[in-house]
């Protein structure tokens, strides 16, 4: 496999170029569209040469979209803010709940422990609508529908099992003797957890955090069902205003760009942890 002939090299580079084109071209093209006026976009044949405009972004940020049916007030930035609030608080809550639980599952063999962990994970993979269907009604009764708290709670379904299982794996990899040594030094259980277990599981926690943030950010169906306009994240918001009357295509493109930028930047910034998280803890980088 390591043999490198000249033709082999050429073929490899060609294949990789093709692959890169397939996976990156759409992102590139939509980025271009977001800087185009409707006239530029509708031009046939399409061209990558045009006078770039920031108009689409301006319209989105100001929340006033000009459309064929007049000016439409869509608070897209509000959607973006909702995404931030939902994803950040969901992940934060999951970390708060998930790390101690992951530690318990990793360190203590206790009755029901394995069952809880297993149920949580297997329900992570259950159809989300199955849970949402009755949950919407319960939420209504509890007054949680269309609230950040309700949504963040439901988001735990995506973020918590992920954090629990990935971090648990890392805790299990820490030698117990290191923690025992710290206890013997005169530190209580909680200090040991805080100063030894957590710092040592940091790569795992980082990977799980990043991954669950992305999952939370990208979630669509929970908010579709449980949130109204002022609580909607970008995933639902963007779809909603694409179908709203007379939006210009450049603005759609700009909204797409704005809604994916945070996750893309995060992924590029913390790629090492990303790869670690994506390999599901099965391969430690």
């Amino acid at each position: 496999m390591e043999r490198q002939t000249t033709t082999g090299r050429v073929v490899r580079v060609m294949l990789l170029t093709l692959v890169g084109l397939f996976f990156l071209f759409p992102i590139f093209w939509v980025l271009l569209m977001s800087f185009q006026t409707n006239q530029d976009i509708l031009r046939i044949p399409p061209s990558i040469f045009f006078e770039p405009t920031l108009g689409n972004y301006k319209a989105l940020i100001s929340g006033r979209l000009e459309s064929t049916a007049g000016v439409l007030e869509i608070r897209f930035m509000n959607n973006l803010m909702n995404s931030v609030i939902l994803a950040v608080s969901s992940v934060a809550l999951s970390l708060l709940l998930g790390i101690p639980a992951a530690y318990a599952f990793a360190r203590f063999k206790f009755r029901l422990g394995e069952d809880i962990a297993f149920t949580l994970l297997s329900f992570r993979f259950a159809p989300p609508l199955l849970v949402l269907l009755p949950l919407a009604i319960y939420f209504q009764q509890m007054g949680l529908i269309d609230t950040y708290i309700g949504l963040i709670w439901v988001y735990q379904l995506i973020t918590l099992p992920l954090i629990l299982w990935i971090v648990r794996g890392y805790f299990e990899d820490i030698s117990e003797d290191i923690e025992h040594a710290y206890r013997l030094d005169g530190n209580g259980w909680f200090k040991t957890f805080l100063h030894i277990a957590i710092p040592l599981a940091k790569p795992g926690i980082a990977a799980a955090t990043l991954l669950s943030f992305i999952f939370a950010w990208n979630n669509f169906v929970f908010a579709l069902i449980l949130a109204s306009a002022d609580k909607q994240p970008v995933t639902v918001g963007a779809l909603a205003f694409v179908t709203a009357s007379g939006i210009q295509y450049g603005q759609i493109a700009a909204s797409i760009v704005l809604s994916v930028t945070p996750t893309l930047l995060l992924a590029l910034y913390a790629q090492r942890y990303l790869v670690e998280g994506l390999s599901l803890g099965a391969v430690k980088g």
Binding site: E66, T68, A69, G70, L72, A136, I137, F139, Q140, Q141, I145, D146, L224, I225, S228, A229, D230, V236, L239, A240, F241, T243, A244, S245, G246
Partner: protein
């Protein structure tokens, strides 16, 4: 000066002066538009309050669920009037149409009292009403202590009042015996042809007068006019594909969706007449419809007409109305034409869509909500909307009779009033009311998609559809 402006405002309230002239003369008095509006609102409030206690729910806040629509825009623009008149506050959520009805259904089906009133179509009430989510508005309309004496319910077009009332018995006549008024008509649309007059003139085309001409003209546009297809109709997998032009034409051939046999609803889509209409419709789309017809909602249909991508549309009249303004490429080039596809028919039979206001049964402040609804569907707001905003088509006869409204439409939308006059008598809801409306109509649209995609022959498809529809009716116990 204050007495002068108050006099002027009262003149407006007495309908001796129109709003525009009022503002002009206020300006001459050196009073700015916002201040003038304030005086106007005050005068209106005073006038109304003389007959009826609008202040009864002073301090109450009601919440509305609204669809993103010019009707809602017009209402929001005039909302201050209501607030100052009643001392109430009004908040609202606005959703785009694609998610709007899912949102309403989700909201109501979970028993939520978040919203007191909301926009709805008449078809939706066939689902919401029997489910117990709506209030029967008769209770309020007929209660003189709750309804202001100027409300004038009978001013609302009778077909529309009937179309929003139903007894809940599947197949029963709308507005018939035991009917409950599930919603208050607000604004409506009927279906006719809107066409690009510029292109028609250039190519010596005349608007079609029957189905054969429609197909012929559409095909001609597709072949003769560069970059333009013949006729725009909706095609998404939704009930919305069936209810505009399609059902209007279908009904013109005296075809029905259901018939009553031995007290049971039976699908009526598999008749020879239905099959032949479907075959024509499918052929028309294949030959001269939009390329990705199967994704078309009213929005794409309208945009294409406005942008000059289609030669005509057979859809809601107000869609053509909207496309004739704004920044549309073809603004000013559009014209309107009443349409009866059946050569033997005496008049058009447009199916109508009625944007209505419904009251949630879960609302805890129903009287306050009714105050809002009677204002929003009352004559004053309707006149304001029709004269100054795009609150068309109005549901009140008095508004249609209003000279200022007529003048405005005649001036900017040539042929629109004529189209309306010709279409109006035969326009009503042609669907048979039954609570499986959405399943069955969506399935109908889905079948239409399969026919257009040549996945299934028209005859066979309709036989399958009828069979499936009957099975579902029986399963639901209808």
């Amino acid at each position: 000066m204050y007495s002068r402006i108050q006099d002027l405002a009262n003149a407006v309230v007495r309908r001796q002066l129109d709003r525009r002239n009022f503002l002009r003369r206020a300006g001459q008095l050196g009073i700015g538009a916002s201040a003038a509006t304030y005086f106007l609102n005050q005068a209106q409030s005073t006038a109304l309050a003389q007959d009826f206690d609008w202040q009864k729910h002073n301090g109450t806040t009601i919440k509305l669920l609204l669809n993103k629509h010019p009707y809602a825009d017009a209402m929001i623009a005039n909302l201050e009037t209501f607030k100052s008149m009643t001392g109430m506050d009004v908040t609202y959520d606005v959703f785009p149409e694609d998610v709007y009805f899912d949102k309403v259904t989700a909201e109501l089906s979970s028993g939520g009292g978040n919203y007191d009133a909301f926009m709805t179509g008449a078809y939706q009430t066939w689902q919401y009403g029997p489910a117990g989510w709506l209030v029967d508005m008769n209770e309020f309309i007929s209660d003189a202590s709750l309804t202001n004496p100027n409300y004038n319910w009978d001013d609302i077009l009778p077909n529309l009042r009937a179309s929003t009332a139903w007894s809940g018995v599947p197949g029963a006549e709308l507005g018939g015996e035991g009917a409950k008024q599930w919603a208050i008509p607000w604004g409506f649309e009927l279906n006719s042809i809107a066409y690009n007059k510029r292109v028609f003139d250039e190519h010596n085309l005349t608007p079609p007068n029957n189905m054969a001409e429609l197909m012929e003209t559409a095909a001609k546009i597709s072949t003769d006019v560069d970059g333009m297809y013949g006729v725009g109709v909706r095609g998404s997998r939704s009930w919305a594909t069936i209810h505009p032009g399609f059902l209007s034409g279908y009904s013109n051939f005296n075809e029905r969706d259901f018939t009553m046999e031995n007290g049971q609803l039976m699908a009526a889509m598999a008749t020879p007449g239905s099959k032949s209409f479907h075959a024509d419709w499918v052929k028309m789309i294949q030959e001269s419809g939009p390329r990705d017809w199967a994704t078309y909602t009213w929005y794409q249909v309208g945009t294409d007409l406005g942008a000059g991508a289609s030669g005509m549309i057979y859809d809601a009249d107000i869609l053509g109305y909207f496309m004739n303004g704004g920044e549309n490429a073809e603004a000013g080039n559009l014209a309107y034409h009443a349409f009866a596809p059946n050569p033997e028919a005496s008049a058009p039979t447009p199916n109508v869509w009625i944007w209505s206001l419904g009251m949630s049964n879960f609302s805890t402040q129903k009287e306050a909500a009714w105050l809002f609804m009677q204002w929003a569907s009352g004559t004053d707001h309707a006149l304001f909307g029709a004269r100054d905003m795009d609150f068309v088509n109005p549901v009140r006869q008095s508004v249609w009779d209003d000279q200022a409204f007529q003048d405005r439409i005649a001036k900017s939308y040539p042929g629109y009033l004529e189209q309306y006059e010709a279409s109006a008598p035969g326009s009503k809801i042609y669907f048979t009311p039954q609570p499986l409306f959405f399943n069955l109509t969506t399935e109908w649209a889905s079948m239409l998609q399969q026919m257009v995609g040549n996945e299934v022959p028209v005859d066979e498809g309709l036989d399958q559809l009828a069979e499936s529809v009957n099975r579902q009716l029986r399963q639901a116990g209808i």
